[in-house]
């Protein structure tokens, strides 16, 4: 699975493994073992940046408060069930209003005011974005993929964005069609993409790695397959990525790749897709200049390898039904060339 191959396994901390072992215990105790059993999932409880980290801490506070109150409620209920279970037709009176007001209103008020204050602090912290000079990445939501550009850069990529580790990066969000929502659970809570507006959020990762993100606002037929990847890497790798985005695509090296390029540029592909530095400059589908290096095809629909790529080109509708790429009338003889060329674009 591409995500896993690119995830830095050593970053999985000892505490995470410890939590993993704790799982049965916590399951028995509270029934809620959260961080432990998420494993490699893009879990909000396995945060890798300051935004999600803050929210994860807030969650654990809320979680333990909930456990405490739940125990209180269950204790009263159990007491009633154990000691008050007699069939007795006598109707009783008496109004223990003090109990109801203290347990039902007083204690909750104290708790709610406290967590409201903490929540307010976190809300303010999440609004504390990057400095004006920080890198800015422009993300545009399409049905059903993400267009990614670096502010001021010429080129675009899709469904993948890179950030330097340890720095806050501004992300500017627009949508080309309907509402989407930009969500990287391990890095930052959601921000919706609003038609007719520009929204901003920021990303910050404190350790290198690949973090899965996904559209969280229902956006039509293929909402399910609208994932993306945030790659947090050292600053020089990030700079190299920015430079690559501005540069023309890699030139074909082998004969097969050259034939594939010709087929791409002269065929129907170029009507919708751009490959920088070639005659293909369609603007409908994603820019494919670095398609060979991406983590998936179809915004997380299938892994990016030769077989899946061939299947996708032949008929994207079987892979991701309802997406806007029609089946391609590619000569079977040309398909391996096309695949070879596209795989070489890194």
């Amino acid at each position: 699975m591409p995500v896993d191959t690119r995830r830095d396994v050593t970053t999985r901390s000892r505490s995470e493994l410890w939590r993993r072992r704790l799982l049965p215990v916590v399951l028995l105790g509270g029934g809620l073992a959260l961080a432990g059993c998420s494993g490699g999932a893009p879990s909000a409880l396995n945060p890798a940046g300051s935004g999600a980290g803050r929210v994860a801490n807030l969650w654990w506070l809320l979680f333990w408060i909930s456990i405490a109150v739940f125990v209180e409620v269950m204790a009263v209920l159990a007491w009633a069930l154990l000691f008050r279970r007699r069939r007795d037709a006598r109707v009783r009176h008496g109004q223990p209003l003090r109990f109801v007001t203290i347990a039902g209103a007083g204690i909750p008020l104290v708790i709610l005011v406290t967590v409201y204050a903490i929540g307010l602090r976190d809300l303010a912290a999440l609004g504390d974005g990057p400095d004006p000079g920080a890198p800015t990445i422009e993300v545009t939501g399409h049905k059903w993929w993400w267009e990614v550009r670096v502010q001021g850069g010429a080129g675009a990529t899709a469904n993948e964005l890179h950030i330097p580790v340890g720095e806050k990066v501004r992300v500017r969000l627009r949508t080309a069609d309907v509402l989407h929502s930009f969500w990287v659970p391990q890095l930052m809570p959601k921000t919706d993409l609003i038609a007719g507006e520009v929204r901003e959020t920021w990303l910050h990762a404190d350790r290198a790695g690949s973090y899965r993100g996904q559209c969280a606002e229902y956006c039509g037929t293929q909402h399910a397959h609208m994932a993306f990847l945030v790659v947090a890497e050292p600053r020089q790798d990030f700079d190299a990525w920015v430079a690559r985005l501005a540069a023309p695509a890699a030139a074909p090296q082998t004969d097969a790749q050259r034939r594939g390029q010709a087929a791409f540029v002269q065929g129907s592909c170029a009507g919708c897709h751009t490959i920088r530095g070639t005659g293909a400059n369609g603007r409908i589908g994603p820019d494919l200049s670095d398609v060979g290096s991406r983590w998936s095809i179809g915004a997380g629909a299938v892994p990016n390898d030769g077989g899946h790529l061939g299947g996708w080109i032949a008929n994207p509708q079987t892979v991701k039904p309802g997406n806007y790429m029609p089946p391609q009338p590619v000569d079977p003889g040309q398909l391996p060339d096309l695949i070879a060329y596209l795989r070489s674009l890194k």
Binding site: W59, S66, A89, Y116, L123, P189, C215, A224
Partner: protein, 642 residues
Amino acid sequence: MSTTAAPAPGASRQDLTLLEEHWGERPSLRSWFSTVDHKRIGRRYLVTAGLFFFLAGVSALTMRTQLARPESRLLSPQEYNQLFTMHGTAMIFLFATPMLFGFGNFLVPLMIGSRDMAFPKLNAFGYWVFLLAGLFMWVSLPFGAAPNAGWFAYVPLTERVNTPGLHLDVYSLGLLFLGIATTAASINFIVTALKLRAPGMSLNRVPLFVWAIVATAFMVIFALPALNLDNAMLFLDRRFGTHFFDPGAAGNVLLWQHLFWIFGHPDVYIIVMPALGIVSAVLPAFTRRGVVGYPLIVLAIVTIAIISFGVWVHHMFATGLPRLSYSFFSAASSIITIPSGIQIFAWLATMALGRLVLKVPLLYLIGFIVTFVLGGFTGAMFALTAFDQQVTDSYFVVAHFHYVLIGGAVFPMLAGIYYWLPKITGRMYHEGLGRWAFWLVFAGMHVTFFPMHLYGLFGMPRRVYTYRSEPGWDAWNLVSTIGSYLLAIGLLLVLIGVVHAIRRGRPAPPDPWGGDSLEWSTESPPKPYNFPVLPEVHSLHPTWDEPSRESMGAGATEDRILAEGRRTLFTSELDGRRERVVEMPEASLQPLVLALALLVFFTTMLFAWYPVAIAAVVVVAATIGVWLWPPRRPERELGVST
């Protein structure tokens, strides 16, 4: 005190014959279509809402089957998206509210000691509209034209350019059509509770269920217009090219969300509130005491109804509005937990201080408390903007609102079904079958929805027709699916239990539980006129107090018997003082005709046959004109001066 025997009716045999003559309906096809009896209409609401629940439940099971494994191909995305939209829309609009209105219809006149609703014909009309609007929406599914953009139908996805076809026209017209029924029923509930309470039932003696229904009805009155306007604008945008939601022409997409949630959040409480009323109504019979803290529960009902109008933006915490403006809604969303907490602890105190009689209805109430409290915790978490932004639109939300809506509404409904089944059908249910059903429903509910908290936190978004295999998603999804089958079997057992009770159940006595409210002083099932003698209420628990019970026995004053004609008594709004005797309307086909004319209107609007639609409007106007046409009276009786 023992209350198993109904008091001997204070009306004479002659009076009873007269009452039967004026209120009874001879069984015939015509009477089936023309009835205005609130009990028959209430039963129909319950059955019809049950049918829609079944359809929406089957949709959910199909979806859960699709989601059992990653990358399953049982359903196409187009099919899945219609199913999840119809599931949500039907559960909210066609099941939850109508089901609870069904309870309200059957019970409110009985609980307040009246002979019918304030507007019996309007009541019948509301039912017919509900039935036809529900069918209007469900019929689109087999044609592949069902709504497919979620029950929230956010623009611009729902604009014609993004979703062509009839899907969203069915949605907007269907909800506008249904809105007529909901509004009519709400006005009816409010007026009934204000004017038709038995003498002596001042505001401090109104049963909590009636408080809850009235508060709900007020919420409908003030919340539903926002949804209606939203849908009207959506329809105009789609059909006639207006630009309300088009940012390219001075429109705005967030307007939809604001209006939708100005309706949508109160609607959550519109669903839960009457269910909480059921809890307060059922509890006394099985704890052998009145609910603790009556004024505090009234307080909770009133304040929840009001505050629920000021929390809507917490559904929009991720839309990127100014953070300060979020805080006002965050504050209200936090504080609204307090009245709910008061209610929970009032019920707990009732149980702790009572004597528990552990029968099926009480089991459901205990299941309700456990489940609803858990849903309440996650609800309070959503009040915090920062946390909400992380988990909104993930499966965590799906877990939360199923805890709240199944725990908070379905469990009390099930308690209510078992509790009032003897009153509604005149038959007792089978206790053992009921217990089996309860444990399956309870276990199924938690097995299905508890894991959703987990894979929501693990990053799984909601409303996806399939998902890539991720550790932490696959296994838990399978658990959810297994749970959903358990839940379905449990609910099937409930249905079997009801059918069994109706066909084979023991005949029910008037008051099998020793309940405290007035419906238990009528026969099971109640006579068409409900009470041979309208009661005079002396306390909050009239069936438990001697003077109130005696008021229905011998020596009743004539103004509470009212056997000469189809009549009932008006009392004053706050203190329940006698005001005057009024004539109630007879059975009529007008409600059905009116509802059918509206069906023609909405169907022809859907297919753009506008001339027919205009003709339907004329029929609607003419029917209303005839319906309300003043009966001719002698001039002297009218009081005309020349």
